[in-house]
Structures are given as C-alpha cells and as structure tokens.
Symmetry: C2
Subunit: 302 residues, 2 copies
Amino acid sequence: MTGTNPRRSAAHPRPDMTPADHAELALLLEVASTPKPGNVDRHRDHDDLRFEHFLTGAVGSRPGLELAGRVDGSGNSSDGPPAIGDAFERAVRGMSQQSGGNTQFGCLLLLVPLVRAAATDRLSPDGLTNVVEATTVDDAAAFYRAFEHVDVAVGDPPADAPDLDVRRGADAVPTLRERGLTLADVMDLSADHDGNAAEWTSGFERTFAAASRVLDDDGPLPDRLARTFLDLLAERPDTLVAVEHGRERAEAVGREAAAVRGDLDAAEELAGRYLDEGINPGTTADLTAATAFVALERGVEL
Amino acid sequence: MTGTNPRRSAAHPRPDMTPADHAELALLLEVASTPKPGNVDRHRDHDDLRFEHFLTGAVGSRPGLELAGRVDGSGNSSDGPPAIGDAFERAVRGMSQQSGGNTQFGCLLLLVPLVRAAATDRLSPDGLTNVVEATTVDDAAAFYRAFEHVDVAVGDPPADAPDLDVRRGADAVPTLRERGLTLADVMDLSADHDGNAAEWTSGFERTFAAASRVLDDDGPLPDRLARTFLDLLAERPDTLVAVEHGRERAEAVGREAAAVRGDLDAAEELAGRYLDEGINPGTTADLTAATAFVALERGVEL
C-alpha cells in the first residue's frame, strides 16, 4: 500500500516496514540523535530552525520517498517506475511545508537513490552505482527544479560551468538538455567538493562503511548515530561548513571532531560551542541519515 | 497516493498533507513536546521506553492511519471504506515493531476516528459522533484483537462483564458477538472511568476544546502542546495514573498539574519528580496527541 516491501525477512525486527518507512524513520532518528555538534538535535534548536520543523519535513517528504520506493511502474509512468528525479523533487516539495526552511534537502538527495536500491533489493555499493548510472537528463532537470522549493546553501558552480549553478533552478534546464547532462553527470561535476555528490559517484562508500560500524556498535540507536556523526565529521571536512566558513575552518572542525570521537560527553561541549559560533556541519548530518537508513534496512534493533 | 486529502485549502500551511500525515505528525509532536510530566518527551526517557521507540511507533502505525483516512472503498472492502476497527488494529500492529512496548495505543484509539472524520470532512463533535455511532460488532472484535499485539495497562472490566476484559483479546470476541456489542457500546461501558472512552462517547469534547486553546495560543507548537497537556491533566484525573496508582493519587496529580498550569518552567520540576516516582499520565498524553491532530487539520502553523 505504501511502497514495495522487498522480501523483508520474517526475522527482521520491523517486518512490515517498507524502504520508504525506513527512510522516514532515518530522518527522524537523525534529528533525534544527540549530540551532533552544530546541528539541530534532540537537545538543541537553531534560532529559526527547530526540532519540530524536522519532524514536519520528514512526514512531508513521504510521498516522494514512496515514489522512490515504487518499482512496479503502475500509475506514474507509461513504462517503468517513477523517475528518481521526480521522486526527489516531490520529496523536497513535501518537506518544504514548514516555516523553518531547508531541513532535509541533502538527506533526501542521499535517501532517494538508497530507497530505490532497497526497493529493488540492490542495497549495496554496486546497486547504488547502477541506480546512479541509470539517471537521465530528466532526472537532472527535476533535481534543478527542486531548488525552487527551498533555499539551499551551496557553493559556487564550477568556473567553467556558470550556467549550471543550481541556484538558477529551472532556468538551468535548457543548458542541461543542450549538453545532455544526466543527474549522474551533474553529481560528477561536484564530487570533488561536495560530500553528498561524492556519495553518488562512489557507490555510497562512506554510507555503507558507517552503517557497518553502526551495526557493530552497541547501545541505543540514537547514541550509535551520534558516534557515527563524529566519525564522519572527523574523517572528511564537512561540505556545508566549507561553503559557509571556508575550507580551513572545515578542516579545523574535522580535527576538533577527531579529538572527541567516541566520547559523546566530550562532544556536548563542542555542540554548545558550534551552536554559538554558527558552525553547522549539515552535510555530515545528511550522511548520518543515509547511514541510519542502511542500518535500519539491515535489521538494526530498535 | 497516501490517503485522501479532502478539500484542503490552498491557504493551509501544509496543503499536501493528508489526515494520515497529520495523524503521524501529531504522534511525533506529542512525544517531542516538553515538559509533559511523567511521560517520555523530548528531554526524558523511561528506562526501557525511549524517545526512539515513539518515533518508530509513529512510522509503523502509518498503514493503519492510512486505512482510517481511506474513504473511497477501493481495494480493502467490497462495499465502503475500510472498517475503523481494522484500521485501528493495523495501526497498533504496525506500532508494535519496536522493543519499547506500548508507545501509542491510546493515541491511536483517538486518532483513528479523528482521521476518518477529517477524511470525510466532518472533523467536528457531530462528525465524530457519527463515526462512533456507525461502528459495528466487527469493529469491536478488531479492537479486542489489537490488545494481542502489545501489553496495555488497563483497569479491571465492569464487575458485571468479566467476559469483556480487554486483556482476553480475541477470546472475548464470541461474547461480543453474542451480545451484539459494537465498538461504540464497548466504549460506553468504560466511559465513566476511562478518559479515552469518554472522548468516544462525548463527540471528542475535551479534544476539540483543547485544540481551540492551542489555536489561540502563541509560540512554537510543542510549547503550546505542553501547556495543553498541563491543562488537560489539571482538569480531570488521568486514567492511567488511576489504574496504576489509584484514584486518589490521580486526583492529587491533577491538583499538582493545576498548580503549575501555564508555567512550563515550574512543570520541569514536576517532570523530574514523576519520572522518579513512576507516575505516568499516559491518557493525558493520548489526549494531547488527539488535540495536536485537530490543531494541525485546522491549520496551526509550524
């Protein structure tokens, strides 16, 4: 009824949950996990971006996540399942029905292909590579249109491609079509400086590695995800921090995360400080949501 | 795609959200609202019943909420929409896919008829009375079956009706059929001592009154809901506290809530103490979720 549930084993702790259900739950668990220094979490709000905006964004994004999880092709396309780009744009539009602004754009950019892979029983690096390689110019156009629903903090476009600035929204679509760029191509242009695009072009390498660590870890899932957030932040500079504060600051944040890695009490101090300083490692939160999704699909207990 | 969205005005802040969406969001906002003395909230867990169990319960209950919101009759019943009782049982079964136990049984008992009324554009005391009066013996049977999915703390059955103890689950169904008891009849038997049953038999009187107060209140919605929780707790003894600690203690809790009414800072102290003492006004939390749903449907901002 609400997406396709691919051969979920009866031993799975959530036998009736579809990939779309798990994606929504991943969004909720991500924002609930604490401390995630610099991000809204169970214990911290930003001034105008609060916990309840994330809850609302998660529920609102469902129709798009369900499109991503639909693989039977019925009702939405003359041949084949709904397009990944349309699913993403629908998710972002639904997410935007709250006044906090951009809550989960980056999370959804990762979750949509992950849901599609899970719904076709290919939730693996190879499966994700297949999903990414199958994207089309239409998917790229839908991705650009999604920027019209919400303000997203992004870096400048490649110097040789000013026409492809995502901030142009639908105005960039003619350029996409002229150049025949698929969504995979668009991600490829940003993969060297954007952590989410890098997942698209690497078979979601960091997501799968982090999910394995979550499955091997102990304790309540939100605590595991908070530890994963610190790991991810320590291992590579956060894209959003680099966009907003420069590469040097992003690298310093990575070192500070490394210093408190594995120690959630020590991370509390960092969380207070980043909130005061306006340091928001949002891309690392996106990766944490993606990690939660893979861990949920693989049967992590709740 | 995910339920029916009845004539939601374009001026509504969440034009694309269906009643099922709002019901799920109400569950999330209820658990996020803090302080709600004695209940799991954004800042407090119980030992084995934690915030994440409520998030999981909310997502898991969706298929049942969607059945409640489906009014076109397609796919689930030969004539007419899915039965209210089946929707409730499905919601409880989905909710139970987590290890915390009973997270939202009572919330769902209120939300299912509210969703049905909203989906048919009759979200009013009269509309709820119609939904309740239309229930059947099959609905009552499904209600009893729902108790087999999760342990629910309940009081003893009426002295003259030991066969109708809900803890008997499906074993009570032959008695229901013999006596021709509808779900409305079952609620009627408990309405004098059970706050949720009393809503069923009164056109959801307290829910609608509280929702009006929420709409007139100011500030972030979770704060409004926390104030509503205190109001509701002050105005009538909580059923679950009465079941677990006796009527006298439930009345004392009401007086303590009245003393901090309107003052969330003062309620923080109460929240800490009730957690230590194992006082859990869960029925008042159920009413708070129902209140959130009506406020969401009526366009409260988020």
